[in-house]
């Protein structure tokens, strides 16, 4: 039995765990006690990470679609590579490079994400590259990037326990980021005050001092209201504002319209609760904002994130320990995928493609000519594919057909493509539409690094050889690039790829495998060899000197309830499944715990609808419909229902529209949708 220290592939907490290997089999998981995040603890998903690795459903050879009816035949790597390069080159020649779209994965390593972005820009010649960050944290990247400098968590998980006031908003923390949940509990036990803002009464709401349940989609009004109260109560930190920020006066002016009457009316909250929140947050010198996808998955997601930044700057709760604005990233390496430039507008390390100096630098490093035009984002690619303008897509480790909004349209879009390649461990719903499917190795079968939600870059380690017939994603990309005649991607191993990343990415410049092997990871920015990283950002200065107050205004989504569709739908996660279930649903323990989809309905609504727990109901929106099981609970308020999005049987995203995009970050509106319910 060998014990190999690696990092959990599920959420963004970045827990250190040992995989227990007996010969060629991974038979168990245990948490590392010395690891700074896991501390000897794991959530149920973490304790069961080993259980999907040897699933019989793992793909074992490349598959090629043999006929239009969709039957596959197995093939060798050689044939698959030839077909892919031939078809992609043909399409590139016929329709131009921008007729190809690439979607990366938040579960690939940094090295793989970097190669994918290099492959897209160098070999395919397009900036049409994005990942599911566009479906969850794009507003963080855009919002915090503009306010402070970096689109990432400003502080660290371990600082939470010393915070005095914690504002958790739009995050079901104990279920989605359990290890962060433990730190919040610890802070409460040490006397901190917890305020939870969530329309649903989640576990963390149950243990809070104050639980605010605003109408879905009105968080921005709530935060703007808080800013106004803090200014009126003279709790603004003018010393901090004048020394470290710009543009405060404009924001001060812009929040004037958020009067108590207006805020009460739109959010449905009482002014006394708001005032209590404002005073708690404003009085404390260690106030921390923690938020999740309840904030970002809105058409005003970026604005709300920037409102958080304003609130933190207003009270000086930024640039110090146990303060800041802290997004909780939902996947093991979504932060890394963004850091590595799996984005339509940035190279690795958030180096903008708009800056000619950056383009020249990458052109020189990669010995190639790079495209200058801004690429398409995730939803734009799907839309263009539906319109027949995107002709081919290359999708790595992303189950678009369950994760994208408006599944019916996504299916239509991918079906329209002339050529689709999917690289995945399993024949996911998305892979089933592909012309070529390439079987990739799991996290236990490769070396590399993940970057957690707190910017911690850590080693993942190979425990077993890739299962027969599979290859790690980095190797597939490297081999494919060589097939396409590009010689600058002959990478021998992930270590070497990290050297290249460090040589060209300032925030990763001081990171190397030598350093990572001797530490529990390094939190970027890490600018040189002696740099040990940063637990919190902006201690003395913001990225470009001063932080910037950005005025924001409220935008109402088009998907509000009306007579025909009287219920708010909130889609989200539950603790026992992960995303589209392609990994967790292979674990007998997890699947037993939460085996099928459901809709949570308030008891009073259930009475109105004359339905009981366990009954089947039909739920329809303006975009689609599904059938699922009723679960009656007071955790959801009246006229609001909740559906977890993990299940292909009853996929919440069937109901969501995709036309409303946040103008600043291009994220679709996920959290506010109007539905009607009927019993069947």
């Amino acid at each position: 039995m060998r014990n190999v220290l690696t990092v959990c592939p599920y959420c963004g907490c970045g827990c250190g765990l040992y995989l227990r290997v007996d010969g060629k089999k991974v038979l168990g998981t245990l948490p590392s006690k010395e690891h700074p995040i896991s501390h000897g603890q794991l959530c149920l998903k973490g304790w069961n990470v080993h259980s999907f690795i040897h699933s019989s459903q793992r793909l074992r050879e490349p598959l090629v679609k043999a006929d239009p009816a969709g039957t596959y035949r197995g093939t060798g790597w050689d044939e698959a590579y030839s077909l892919i390069t031939k078809r992609l080159m043909e399409i590139q020649k016929k329709y131009g490079s921008n007729s190809i779209g690439i979607i990366g994965s938040a579960k690939c390593t940094n090295e793989e994400s970097y190669l994918l972005m290099k492959f897209a820009r160098s070999v395919l010649g397009t900036n049409n590259i994005d990942s599911c960050v566009r479906l969850c944290h794009a507003p963080t990247i855009a919002g915090l990037g503009d306010s402070f400098g970096f689109g990432a968590m400003t502080n660290s998980i371990n600082e939470i326990e010393n915070a005095k006031v914690i504002l958790v908003i739009g995050s079901n923390t104990t279920e989605e980021h359990p290890i962060v949940g433990t730190r919040i509990l610890k802070a409460i036990d040490q006397g901190a005050n917890l305020i939870v803002v969530d329309p649903r009464r989640t576990q963390i709401a149950n243990i809070s001092h104050l639980h605010l349940q605003p109408a879905p989609g009105t968080d921005l009004i709530l935060i703007s209201g808080l800013i106004r109260i803090i200014i009126e109560e003279n709790l603004a930190n003018f010393d901090f504002i004048s020394r470290r920020t710009e543009n405060f006066e404009v924001v001060k002016e812009s929040v004037k319209k958020f009067t108590p009457e207006y805020v009460e009316k739109t959010t449905g909250l009482s002014f006394s609760n708001l005032r209590e929140t404002a005073l708690m947050y404003g009085h404390s010198k260690a106030s921390m904002i923690i938020y999740g996808m309840g904030i970002t998955q809105h058409i005003n997601g970026t604005d709300t994130v920037q409102a958080f930044a304003n609130l933190a700057m207003l009270t000086g709760n930024i640039g110090r320990e146990s303060t800041g604005v802290n997004p909780l990233i939902g996947q093991s390496n979504m932060q890394g995928a963004c850091d590595m430039g799996v984005l339509p507008d940035y190279f690795s390390g958030y180096q903008s493609i708009k800056d000619k100096k950056n383009v020249a630098k990458f052109e020189k490093a990669w010995s190639t000519k790079l495209p200058a035009d801004k690429g398409l984002s995730f939803m734009e690619m799907i839309k263009r594919a539906r319109q027949g303008k995107i002709k081919a897509m290359y999708i790595v480790g992303e189950n678009v057909l369950l994760s994208a909004p408006n599944i019916n349209e996504a299916i239509e879009a991918l079906s329209h493509l002339e050529f689709l390649v999917v690289q995945d461990m399993f024949l996911t719903e998305t892979a089933q539409l592909a012309n070529v499917v390439l079987p990739s190795a799991s996290f236990a079968e490769k070396n590399g690094t993940f970057t957690s939600t707190e910017r911690r870059v850590q080693r993942i380690r190979k425990c077993i050889e890739p299962l027969g017939g599979t290859k790690p994603d980095w190797q597939i990309l490297s081999e494919l690039a060589q097939r396409a005649g590009y010689t600058e991607m002959k990478n021998k191993n992930p270590r070497e790829i990290m050297e290249e990343i460090a040589s060209i990415t300032p925030i990763y410049e001081g990171i190397s495998y030598e350093k990572l092997d001797n530490t529990a990871g390094i939190q970027w920015p890490c600018f040189d060899k002696s740099d040990t990283g940063a637990t919190f950002l902006y201690k003395d200065s913001f990225a470009s000197g001063k932080a910037y107050f950005i005025p924001v205004d409220f935008t109402q989504g088009s998907e509000v309830p009306d007579k025909e569709y009287p219920y708010f739908l909130i889609a989200g996660r539950r603790e026992f499944q992960f995303h589209t279930g392609s990994m967790t649903r292979k674990s007998p323990t997890l699947e037993r715990e939460f085996p099928y989809g459901l809709v949570e309905i308030n008891p009073n609504d259930a009475d109105d609808l004359k339905v009981k727990s366990g009954w089947r109901v039909k739920i329809a929106s303006r975009h689609g419909e599904l059938e699922t099981n009723v679960s009656i609970t007071t955790a959801v308020p009246e006229k609001t229902v909740f559906i977890p999005f993990h299940f292909k049987e009853g996929a919440a995203n069937l109901l969501l529209g995709n036309s409303d995009l946040d103008p600043k970050s291009k994220i679709p509106e996920f959290k506010v949708c109007a539905v009607k319910i009927s019993s069947i």
């Binding site: 998981t29 259980s51 104990t174 290890i179 576990q203 026992f576 323990t589 715990e593």
Partner: protein, 348 residues
């Protein structure tokens, strides 16, 4: 009094070598990252036996009841279904450096796996394994075996028990299995002097005083719980903090629940595996009808502690279900653990 001997510390590696010749040796192993895990070792240098070594993250119960174990495999062939039992590993093993709390827990598990149905998967491995226990002189902050009467020194249960007397070990022989390991190596093991006996006694006494933070007063808790006098609010509060991670059961050395599942593991065959299970999962008690007698987390927490501490089970198992190893203190995401629960119930 057990048969006793002295082994000088300079000879400990020789003794490990002898053990390695006799059997597969499983010992506390420090990973390069600093974590202590029980693991098969191949040389004495890999064994971490200084008297401060930490309790392993998961208890050695995993060598009798692994996290995942294949019980049988089957597949459909031309001739019909073929079943192949995958019986337990029958090689001889020594768990070297097991702590007294974990030895006590294995005695507890023995009772479970021998009662009603004899579990051959467990018992075969148990029969073939010798336990060489090392007593703790430096309890960790999370240790409270002194409150559960399961350490830091045992009077039975071990095959050999080592007590650290500075430059030598006081070795107590508990069983013929232990005796056998010593018998063939008489030159290594010396006779015990009166001074050794005295020093042993002093160390036993002084170690008891080191359990400063251990304050789990079980008797009143057991009485209140058994008599149904626990305030419901206790379970409500604890239930609010439970994350249903199952960690408490996974790391508990006396937890024995498992689940059995048939999984398609290769294209032509199924494996029947058993895995650790936990009473903290809703799926643990969910019935085929869909009804769940313990749907709420608070009911599951209540049930767990009722099983660990009530008279009904104390009588059946001859002891309560906690050995004071402190692992639940480390692993629980919601800080629900035996000392906290005992205290809450006692004061409720």
């Amino acid at each position: 009094m057990n048969n006793v001997k002295i082994l000088f510390k300079e000879d400990i590696n020789k003794f490990v070598q002898i053990c390695l010749k006799e059997a597969k040796v499983i010992a506390p192993f420090k990973t390069t990252y600093g974590d202590t895990i029980f693991s098969p070792v191949t040389s004495p240098s890999e064994v971490v036996i200084d008297h401060g070594y930490e309790n392993s993250i998961i208890p050695p119960k995993e060598f009798f009841l692994p996290q995942e174990e294949t019980m049988l495999t089957y597949g459909r062939y031309k001739e019909g279904y073929k079943f192949k039992p995958s019986l337990a590993d029958e090689s001889k093993r020594i768990i070297f450096g097991i702590r007294p709390c974990d030895v006590s827990a294995i005695l507890f598990l023995d009772r479970f796996f021998r009662s009603d149905i004899e579990d051959i998967y467990y018992l075969k491995k148990r029969e073939n394994t010798a336990l060489i226990s090392f007593c703790c002189h430096e309890p960790q902050e999370t240790c409270f075996c002194i409150c559960t009467d399961s350490g830091p020194f045992l009077t039975y249960g071990f095959d050999l028990q080592f007590i650290d007397l500075e430059d030598r070990y006081f070795v107590e022989i508990g069983t013929p299995k232990g005796e056998k390991l010593i018998k063939f190596n008489k030159n290594l093991f010396k006779d015990v002097s009166v001074a050794d006996e005295k020093l042993r006694q002093e160390i036993v006494e002084s170690t008891k005083n080191k359990f400063k933070s251990a304050r789990a007063y079980f008797s009143k808790t057991i009485r209140k719980l058994s008599e149904g006098k626990v305030d419901r609010n206790v379970w409500d509060e604890l239930g609010q903090r439970c994350f249903s991670c199952g960690g408490c059961s996974y790391v508990c050395p006396t937890c024995s629940c498992f689940d059995v599942a048939d999984l398609l593991r290769s294209r032509d065959g199924y494996s029947r595996i058993r895995t650790w299970d936990s009473c903290m999962f809703a799926g643990f008690t969910k019935e085929a009808s869909g009804h769940n007698p313990r749907l709420e987390k608070k009911d599951r927490v209540c049930r767990r502690y009722y099983h660990k501490l009530s008279y009904q089970y104390v009588e059946k198992n001859e002891t309560h279900g906690c050995v004071g190893c402190g692992r639940c203190i480390v692993t629980c995401l919601g800080n629900i653990n035996m000392p906290v629960v005992v205290e809450k119930i006692r004061r409720s």
